[in-house]
Symmetry: C2
Subunit: 101 residues, 2 copies
């Protein structure tokens, strides 16, 4: 597997009043994840990047972590370090943000 | 896992002469995958969508299939049905297009 963890963060922007993850917020999340991975020297084995609509608009801002296929909803900038430390580094998904299907 | 297969297709456009997967081609691929899944009634259990740069610019047009984390390069519209049938439906990656790391 090319990446131990591959994080896809929605940056899809829909016109108001439709709810969407949002380009500005999504881009901030992408940058925060990239920085957090780089700080830990993980940016060659893990990747965070922007993606299109994950079809989770009602639960956004949303992202998905593969290969596990764990979706997160209502992700704020302050949650990034916890997701990186708990899930990406220690393989323990963050239950309070996880979307359960 | 929400999706049995989740296909992320790069639609990133860089300015020439830089090589990139390209927005027009990537979008055509996304539409072709969506149509192929719908035709087979697989669109509720599998998802194909656009994504940002997969860092495979030199091998584009590129995509990745999760949860396996199999990357494909130089994907053309004529390859979509083979990837869907062989990989997504029958779990046999298409070796001739697969990127090996």
């Amino acid at each position: 597997m090319k990446y131990q963890k591959h994080v896809f963060i929605c940056t899809n922007q829909k016109e108001a009043p439709k709810k969407s993850c949002g380009e500005a917020h999504g881009t901030e999340l992408v940058n925060a994840f990239k920085e957090a991975l780089k700080e830990r020297g993980l940016h060659t084995t893990m990747r965070a990047q922007k993606t299109g609509c994950l079809d989770m608009c009602a639960f956004g801002p949303s992202l998905v972590v593969y290969p596990e296929g764990v979706f997160y909803g209502n992700v704020q900038l302050g949650d990034v370090d916890e997701i990186v430390e708990s899930h990406l580094v220690n393989d323990t998904p963050v239950e309070r943000l996880k979307l359960n299907f």
